[in-house]
Symmetry: C2
DNA sequence: AAAAAAGTGTGGAAAAATCCACACTTCGTC
DNA sequence: GACGAAGTGTGGATTTTTCCACACTTTTTT
């Protein structure tokens, strides 16, 4: 499944948040102005590339992603790891922790996430805020 | 400074690892075949966009990035956070920790990284393996 | 100094991405 | 059934990306 161009990604971002949607609805949710016809051209390409599918309901087609956001996320994260960290996901995560601005609260949350990484069922202490 | 296309990114990836390099050297380090003239066209664009600069030495131009890898990395990471996590770097990191395959050893390393996040001078216990 | 080797400059072809105009179709409603 | 509103299909125009051919320049070698 071919790579997403910037314009295609904008549309997928909308559909991953909410779908199915018809063209006019997608257009209304895009953060920048684009014509209805231009948007439908992007959708046509996304359809050809297999990134979305559509179903007619009434007189309009409703579009939805064929793959969940998660799947594209992993693919793009892998690309980032490839380019900047020789493909190592661990180094990517480490690089982010070191370079992104994180509050003390964020650090605490991260510690918790890492700690429970291999035991998702781990219960949080009762009475905790988050 | 304009966005990097996929082809441009391939070249930048080489230059971030090692620079300055002349076109033939870059070409030799690219993972896929590309003609010398094609590569130089990409370099021309990168030059116009301001992503690389060059200096003549002997009869060849040597190219180097104008910005360190780190700066592009942060930009691309931010984009990823925008698309999939509403712009939250913390959620991006959390998402990676949850979705990437990490060994127990990796988890230990991560714990260490997070723990020393706000105190990079923190000394590791002597005699430690890593 | 001539030839060969190594590089460069540049115009533009080919394909992909982005955008739009315009004709046609479908649905509701008077 | 005729009309208007909402939607679709589609053929490009335009720009960007990717790639290459070819002529020219610079350096090295004989």
């Amino acid at each position: 499944m071919a790579r997403l161009t910037p314009g295609e990604l904008e549309v997928m971002q909308v559909l991953w948040k909410e779908s199915p949607l018809k063209p006019a609805e997608i257009e209304a949710r895009l953060p920048r102005p684009i014509g209805n016809a231009a948007l439908r051209s992007v959708l046509r390409v996304l359809l050809n590339k297999g990134h979305v599918k559509r179903a007619k309901q009434g007189k309009a087609y409703f579009y939805r992603p064929t793959q969940p956001a998660h799947s594209s996320f992993r693919q793009m994260a892998q690309k980032l790891a490839d380019v900047f960290f020789g493909g190592s996901s661990l180094d990517l995560i480490a690089g982010l922790i070191k370079s992104e601005k994180l509050s003390d609260e964020d650090i605490r949350k991260l510690q918790d996430i890492v700690r429970t990484r291999n035991d998702p069922a781990e219960a949080h202490p009762p009475g905790e805020k988050s």
